[in-house]
């Protein structure tokens, strides 16, 4: 099983050192080799399990309720400006 570790790391937004790349390339190769065994199972007549319960579409009433957590939530942020989370500039002029 070949896969491009750099591409996957970019999708996952994780930077890797060259050592990590090598180690993960071989670890993930071994794991993907192990899971190959699933390909031998005939699932042509089988539907997927995404969830083990019989519940579907659990809705709550669409009702406005008081919530006063924003200050506490913002306090936990690494960087903030007033009532906003602050991040590096995302749009170049």
């Amino acid at each position: 099983m070949s896969f491009e570790i750099e591409k996957v790391a970019e999708l996952a937004r994780i930077r890797l050192t060259p050592d990590e790349k090598n180690k993960l390339q071989s670890d993930l190769g071994a794991i993907l080799g192990y899971v190959e065994k699933l390909k031998s199972v005939d699932t042509s007549q089988v539907s997927e399990t995404s969830h083990v319960m019989d519940l579907t579409n659990v809705f709550r009433e669409d009702k406005v309720l008081p919530s006063d957590v924003s200050a506490a939530v913002l306090r936990a942020a690494p960087d903030r400006d007033g009532k906003f989370f602050r991040v590096p500039k995302t749009v170049e002029r």
Partner: protein, 477 residues
């Protein structure tokens, strides 16, 4: 008998009769002596527990004065909760998890937070940012994982009971390795509101205790519907303590033959088969049955659970909580924060999950994994036609040595081979101490039951526990 040796129920009775202080000082002394060796509790400072409002006087209620330690992935209002990860260092949740509300409401005291594998990714507690936890029965061995801190703390008498979480065996395998009781409830039985998510279609919170009675007592409070967790089940909650009866007459117990194959340690096998003999002698009917898709369980799990994990851990990006590494662009900030904040196993699982969900591979891996998961569920549904409970080992071996499997992720993953199927099928499962190796390491057996039939598991476990009576043995600390 010293107060720290008491079970949860006994601690409650002791606190009611003698006051909470005597219990607290005994536990504090025990923790100060042993926790530096075991590393089971994290951020534990004596001053936090003496004279602070946290402990001033526990509220009344059925669990009044009962100290309970909480795994570091369950949010406790006002206390740092970090999943043993650098990326969440300093994170203080502004709310209590549903289970914490319930325990506090019953009068219990949150007494310490438990070390764990980072984000519950692991079977040995070696991936923690706080360093490894050691097994109280042999300090050179792992306590199991990922709720290894919870299991070690209970086994060593640092606390009478603890909460863990179980995605692929993380309550049961450490319970087996440390000689305590661990119960993973049915998927949906306990609200996950406030549990930091790993695999959302698998995760359950459950008790780790010194005996079956305590597990039943805690389940009474943990279980129940919660509108804030949309996967929470509406089923009625029975009084689990009513199941504490010695009665297995006519109970049909299945031994799944796939769980007794190659790779099973002979001492583990012997103790589980002896337990089956005890059940037979007490009037249960023992049958060998087949769960034919068992050999695929680990492969399914390491596709579907890591896919869910990679998605759930997307939220740790340096924006809303935890740590951030500053950078000039947003993308670079994400990448550096995640590089710096996640440990090796977290990176491995996030990358694997990202890969199996990525365009071009989704059908071959993720979709196929979910289909084989259906076949594994069907194995269980078929089994319930002929048996009431399944009996197996909890883990194929006793506790392994620290470092033994750390460099070989696949070997580590395979140590969960007997616990993963219950999570794939969503059924309840319990690990019960059932003996010791000749070298003195604890062994555990696993009972799995029908969805929402924790009562039968508790009754079967209680019966065996009372019959073989080994829960009194203490680790040589």
């Amino acid at each position: 008998m010293k107060p720290y040796e008491l079970t949860l129920r006994e601690s409650r009775d002791f606190a009611a009769a003698e006051g909470f202080d005597a219990l607290r000082s005994s536990l504090l002394e025990r923790i100060e002596t042993l926790n530096p060796k075991l590393n089971a509790l994290v951020r534990f400072k004596r001053e936090d527990w003496t004279g602070s409002p946290r402990l001033a006087s526990p509220a009344g209620g059925e669990l009044a004065g009962v100290p309970i330690a909480i795994k570091d992935n369950i949010c406790v209002k006002g206390l740092e909760t970090a999943c043993a990860s650098k990326i969440l260092k300093g994170h203080v949740p502004p709310y209590d998890a549903a289970v914490i509300e319930k325990l506090k409401g019953a009068g219990a005291v949150v007494f310490g937070q438990c070390n764990m594998d980072e984000f519950a990714f692991g079977s040995s507690c070696e991936t923690s940012a706080f360093g490894p936890v050691r097994n109280p029965w042999d300090l050179e061995r792992v306590p199991g994982g990922s709720s290894g801190g919870s299991a070690a703390a209970v086994a060593a008498g640092l606390v009478p009971a603890a909460l863990g979480s179980d995605t692929g065996g993380s309550i049961r395998q450490p319970a087996a390795f440390c000689g305590v009781v661990g119960l993973k409830p049915t998927y949906g039985r306990v609200s996950r509101y406030g549990l930091i998510a790993f695999g959302s279609s698998f995760d359950q919170i459950g008790p780790i205790t010194k005996n079956v009675e305590d597990a039943a007592l805690l389940m009474k409070f943990l279980a129940g519907h919660d509108a804030r967790d949309s996967t929470s089940a509406p089923e009625e909650v029975p009084d689990y303590t009513k199941s504490l009866r010695r009665d297995v007459k006519g109970l049909r117990i299945g031994l799944p033959e796939e769980y007794f194959g190659a790779g099973l340690d002979p001492e583990v096998e012997k103790s589980v088969r002896e337990a089956a003999d005890v059940y037979r002698r007490l009037g249960a009917e023992i049958k060998t049955i087949k769960l034919p898709h068992t050999p695929y369980a680990v492969a399914v799990y390491y596709i579907v659970a890591v896919a869910e994990a990679s998605s759930n851990l997307g939220r740790f990006d340096g924006v809303r909580f935890g740590s951030r590494i500053a950078a000039d662009s947003l993308k670079e900030m994400y990448e550096k924060t995640r590089e710096e904040g996640f440990g090796a196993e977290a990176k491995r699982r996030i990358l694997l999950g990202t890969f199996v969900l990525s365009a071009g591979y989704y059908d071959a891996y993720y979709r196929q994994g979910q289909k084989v998961r259906t076949l594994i569920r069907q194995d269980f549904q078929k089994a319930w036609e002929s048996v009431d409970v399944l009996l197996s080992p909890t883990a194929p071996t006793p506790a392994f040595k620290i470092g033994e499997k750390l460099s070989d992720p696949l070997a580590m993953y395979l140590s969960d081979i007997m616990t993963i199927p219950a999570n794939l099928a969503g059924v309840p499962a319990l690990s019960l101490p059932c003996g010791f190796t000749r070298s003195g390491l604890p062994l555990g057996l696993q009972l799995m039951g029908r969805p929402f039939d924790e009562e039968t598991l508790i009754r079967a476990a209680y019966t065996l526990e009372q019959e073989i009576g080994i829960t009194g043995r203490k680790p040589p600390l």
